[in-house]
Symmetry: T
Subunit: 145 residues, 12 copies
Amino acid sequence: MRNILVLHGPNLNLLGTREPEVYGRQTIDDINQLLVEQAASYQTKLRFLQSNHEGALIDAIHEAREWADGILINPGAFTHYSYALRDAIVGVGLPVVEVHLSNIHAREAFRHQSVLAAVCVGQISGFGVRSYLLGLQALLGYLES
Amino acid sequence: MRNILVLHGPNLNLLGTREPEVYGRQTIDDINQLLVEQAASYQTKLRFLQSNHEGALIDAIHEAREWADGILINPGAFTHYSYALRDAIVGVGLPVVEVHLSNIHAREAFRHQSVLAAVCVGQISGFGVRSYLLGLQALLGYLES
Amino acid sequence: MRNILVLHGPNLNLLGTREPEVYGRQTIDDINQLLVEQAASYQTKLRFLQSNHEGALIDAIHEAREWADGILINPGAFTHYSYALRDAIVGVGLPVVEVHLSNIHAREAFRHQSVLAAVCVGQISGFGVRSYLLGLQALLGYLES
Amino acid sequence: MRNILVLHGPNLNLLGTREPEVYGRQTIDDINQLLVEQAASYQTKLRFLQSNHEGALIDAIHEAREWADGILINPGAFTHYSYALRDAIVGVGLPVVEVHLSNIHAREAFRHQSVLAAVCVGQISGFGVRSYLLGLQALLGYLES
Amino acid sequence: MRNILVLHGPNLNLLGTREPEVYGRQTIDDINQLLVEQAASYQTKLRFLQSNHEGALIDAIHEAREWADGILINPGAFTHYSYALRDAIVGVGLPVVEVHLSNIHAREAFRHQSVLAAVCVGQISGFGVRSYLLGLQALLGYLES
Amino acid sequence: MRNILVLHGPNLNLLGTREPEVYGRQTIDDINQLLVEQAASYQTKLRFLQSNHEGALIDAIHEAREWADGILINPGAFTHYSYALRDAIVGVGLPVVEVHLSNIHAREAFRHQSVLAAVCVGQISGFGVRSYLLGLQALLGYLES
Amino acid sequence: MRNILVLHGPNLNLLGTREPEVYGRQTIDDINQLLVEQAASYQTKLRFLQSNHEGALIDAIHEAREWADGILINPGAFTHYSYALRDAIVGVGLPVVEVHLSNIHAREAFRHQSVLAAVCVGQISGFGVRSYLLGLQALLGYLES
Amino acid sequence: MRNILVLHGPNLNLLGTREPEVYGRQTIDDINQLLVEQAASYQTKLRFLQSNHEGALIDAIHEAREWADGILINPGAFTHYSYALRDAIVGVGLPVVEVHLSNIHAREAFRHQSVLAAVCVGQISGFGVRSYLLGLQALLGYLES
Amino acid sequence: MRNILVLHGPNLNLLGTREPEVYGRQTIDDINQLLVEQAASYQTKLRFLQSNHEGALIDAIHEAREWADGILINPGAFTHYSYALRDAIVGVGLPVVEVHLSNIHAREAFRHQSVLAAVCVGQISGFGVRSYLLGLQALLGYLES
Amino acid sequence: MRNILVLHGPNLNLLGTREPEVYGRQTIDDINQLLVEQAASYQTKLRFLQSNHEGALIDAIHEAREWADGILINPGAFTHYSYALRDAIVGVGLPVVEVHLSNIHAREAFRHQSVLAAVCVGQISGFGVRSYLLGLQALLGYLES
Amino acid sequence: MRNILVLHGPNLNLLGTREPEVYGRQTIDDINQLLVEQAASYQTKLRFLQSNHEGALIDAIHEAREWADGILINPGAFTHYSYALRDAIVGVGLPVVEVHLSNIHAREAFRHQSVLAAVCVGQISGFGVRSYLLGLQALLGYLES
Amino acid sequence: MRNILVLHGPNLNLLGTREPEVYGRQTIDDINQLLVEQAASYQTKLRFLQSNHEGALIDAIHEAREWADGILINPGAFTHYSYALRDAIVGVGLPVVEVHLSNIHAREAFRHQSVLAAVCVGQISGFGVRSYLLGLQALLGYLES
């Protein structure tokens, strides 16, 4: 039985409620539900947190040391400047997979760089909701090996 | 009847209590009072929030979708690095006017760039407390047209 | 009784005659008329100059020392490279407010920087014709204090 | 029935034959075999090409217009400078998913940038051989939607 | 019958009178004469202006809206910094072709960049007087299509 | 009797619980205890705050105006991007000493720059727990003079 | 009788078969045919090569020493990084004219720079198929003089 | 008998009329008078022009070919961006000496670079009015040798 | 008995046939002959490849794993951008010595950087044909130790 | 009994003799005396050298291998460019602590970087003479552990 | 009676003995002799030092505090990196005039910047031996005022 | 009979006495001895100097004009910033070969650039003591031709 923390960074609570033609109609709850279903088939339990507060995400990462085997994170805009999140990831020593709904490499220049990527296992970006599902698979695969 | 959210970013709670010869003697409450008076003559209601927490400002922007027609923000130092605030502004789709007490283009190099400006309607900087009053006018004018 | 010089930089004579769906149908004469009306209620007299010649704008700034209390300028593309205009502003010592019709921070990268901003009282950009009206108010407010 | 072109860029033919402790013992044929197995369950047929010649990869991308529904590519070192590959991807208009065995964001600085990423559907990096399998899933998912 | 404005930027009035071994012996009048001859065979009328004054060139571009179908310009050194000329070109909406006698890409680093090129139809550089003749052809061809 | 605020930035709560061979076995409580002991011999009282929330650190700095003579801070990763902390330090006008356990100048490039250093009295980095003790001494010495 | 080598770089074989609304319906064979017709009136013979292989283009440039008087090249994406092509041009000492269908100065930033331009006679960009025809004229004119 | 053109760039007409404690009380006429006196002892005649128009300065440089042996120029703010002035200097082939009242290397960063210096005989900066006198000497000395 | 692969990159086949006053009259065959003679005295056998195709050089490096003890390479222009060659060198794990006929540090700026140097044993540049002979010695010396 | 070398870099011999209101009235001898007193309580002997010659400082570092346990250095302006001092520190393998009287991070931009810091144990800056005393403590503490 | 220290930096002892067609035939002794003659007419005494040792120049600047009224320096290559010389100039508080034989702004890019200029009274470059004579005049003029 | 000056820059006197597993056990005397032996077979005499003083190396280069035919130099860390050494090399006009024990292109970024390389005949780096022996050969070969 694996335990995984799923973190959604700032503004991801808006998903599905705005510009559905761009981001789709799926809310963050829908995504979480899809992840739960996928996790079930892997004997994996998930806990979720969405926060617009950098500190709350860091706190959750710290607490994950007590119970989680790995972390799946969509850091939102924190991707580009939160060195504190980076240090949290290094600090707890859990494997982390970074996912993005959109292809960050095809957007504004400031989004091309992730200050977290260098301390994560890997990065998946550009596949919409599927980025999360692929990320969970990737994380579980990593934990297998 | 219009509704406007007025946001004051980090450290603006210190206004008026320190270095009055530089920043003037007006506190944030004084500014809010002036804005309320100006708003009254435009049939406009204002709600205020000052916070030193980026996440709290983002939360407030999200909630503004429910009740506000626009946002007036002095982002303080978040101007220069908070891509999360930027995404919040884009995410809620409300018109936002960015104001600064001092002329940010005449201060240290790091203050010349605003990561928010590109997603705001416009920017007003350098006129002290008047920056807020001009900003409110600008926002209401924008909503008119 | 205040006297203000209003300067329009290069290409602003084209306003209103092209792409009205983008820039609106107001010509530079319409803007000047609006400014005159606003100024009247403040006991303020305005003089206007539009020129595509950097030198003509500098000459006008110099002459303003003889009669003006302040300058309202939309420097157009000179914003981005005319250090000579910058020196003129410093040289005459009059308060100057810089305005832009469009949000220069949301356009091409070369427009993000103003070589004039550091020597102006403040900058207003992004509010269309209202940028001028807000700018005049800001300048008069500055002269008050 | 879907058809997918799988491209392996320069030096990937060395996989499995050197430094197995780093890159694992799986050869490119092993990876292809795993992909074939995964593809089978999706009613998908794969064709493979590994080449150390940029031109050969471009030729293959061009030919894929005739028969393929999408492309899965590990561009190897071409990731970082082959604007010709980029133009080929744009030119044929097929959806492309970019994968990397290692986490390119955690290696030398020159590897952080992909000149291809902006024209691909998305990018997956850091999961070893699983990067390919996740990439194939991602591509098929993209074709579904 | 087409009408074309031919603009020669700063210092081009010196052509032919100095360093004939480098720039050839042809004066700006000779070039204009060659252009007139070429234009004649295309049922095209040309008007010419050489000026060392940025503002005079802008004024001429503005006036061209009244009578011209396109503009052929050798911007001289204004190529590298005159954003005002750039805005003039955008402002009048006429097709503009940029030509240079010398190969600007093979000279000092500051000459490699043209701030005008992005708003012109195209650029021709390096062919001496022929750059003008090719440019006129290119412009007329563009107007054809 | 002096009063000093001791601030520990993000992730410093992990100290001593992970990688003791790198960071030593001392927890943040141990460090605080050592500081209390040192402070006692200087007739100085300390208050402590560790937080992963930028806003909480700013709030504490603001409140320190009411009771503290100076601040000792290990800003953790906020060192590198929190201009809001910088403004808080400037805003309260208390002397601040910045300390780092590791030598930030010998680590990743992004750690070489401190956006806080320019507004602190001084910086001490590289001496492990001793950085704090030296920092307290430095701060008290500064207050002496 | 002149002999000219016409080189088409990577992906130009796709011309006319995709996005005809953007690039027109003319294939590379159509372009070659137009060039042949133009060349005929100048007593000039042309040979053609299109290749996606940098090495093949270099080989062709080398062989051109035996028979050609000049080279007309559209280097495609090699424009931006193929220093080997640059050395080939320098190495054979033949005059080379560089052409581009689109205005490379008005596209993505990486396309603004040509590593070949400094060793070519001149550059023509932005006129679609006409860029080739103008380029051939320019090259023949250069050979005349 | 030598003939020298003395050029004063933009804003230098303000000299002596403002901030005498900084720039001294000498007007541009005073400076010209001092230069005339110095020139007299060298059998040298001077002509003067001050202009805020870049084009007027260029025109004057061109005309100087007819009568002058050299040029003494204080280019003011044009120092930092007028490549057109640079080309004018190269174009007429007269020796030019560049002078500055203030030490441009000790002022704002944008003033450290002169785009003219590379095509002048030499540069003198920092000695107030004496910069002109030294510059005239330097130019006459250069003409001697 | 040692076996060494000698690789000549793009355009080196032109050696000796052009500009003999610059590059000398020695062809690549002459260089190979000199290397064979030198190798003979060290009981070393050489195989040679010159190619203008990056892929062909990579293929040769890969095959060298089967028979060679080291590689001597003059990468020509690939020095400056072929990360694929770099990966090939790392991939096969053979010691490689990089040589250049000319002093690349005294030529155009783009030639100062070698993307290969960091993964080679060492670099020798500037000694003409002797660079090869010294490189072979250096490689054999390295294999000795 | 410990032995420590104390090095004062260029211009530090001027301390106390100029601008006492800025740098204080303490001469370098006063500082040395204070250090001797502090050292005495730690059973530590000090030797001192001040030199304006980079080579003399390097020589002293080399000789310290024979007798010293560590080095305390205020490198003065060598901090910013003396890679030779850096190599000397690495070369002798002694622990080195770098101190600065002023806060180098709050001065001109060129002073923000220390080319030595990465090879020292740590850095202390901004505390005037106390920087030395804290530095000695830090060094002795380091030697303890 | 004034006293001036004249400093010649590294390699200036070679003057006149090499490449007389470039640097002229005047040795450093000749220059000194010319300076002595000029100084005589101003009731000024000069002392001279040429050194290739940065430390020796610094020592001389320090000693000049005892006897000199100002310093004339040609810092040679130290111009571009000797922050220690810069600090020495600031440290002694004497007025310093920087001179260069050649126009440093027209040579290699690294010579364009002087790290000393910002702390000197002014800079004179490009007039050969006359640069020294003009510099002495400039310094004496400065001391007058 | 040839005469060669062999220069060893700063810190090279430490060779062989520290970290023998990295730099080998050979001292600078051993290297000199090897060079003498090699030189003997070429009828060449060597003189040696190691110094940690930039000025001493420059003095030696100057004196070499009197007796030497060329210079072999390992500039140590001066490689990266001593423009004075560069000027010395240019000044004396002797051929210089630059050698490095380690591969400077594979170390820290600041070591990748040599400010001397552009004025040397060539550069050899990465072959340990053999770099010197190869360098001497290269220099003698150069003198032959």
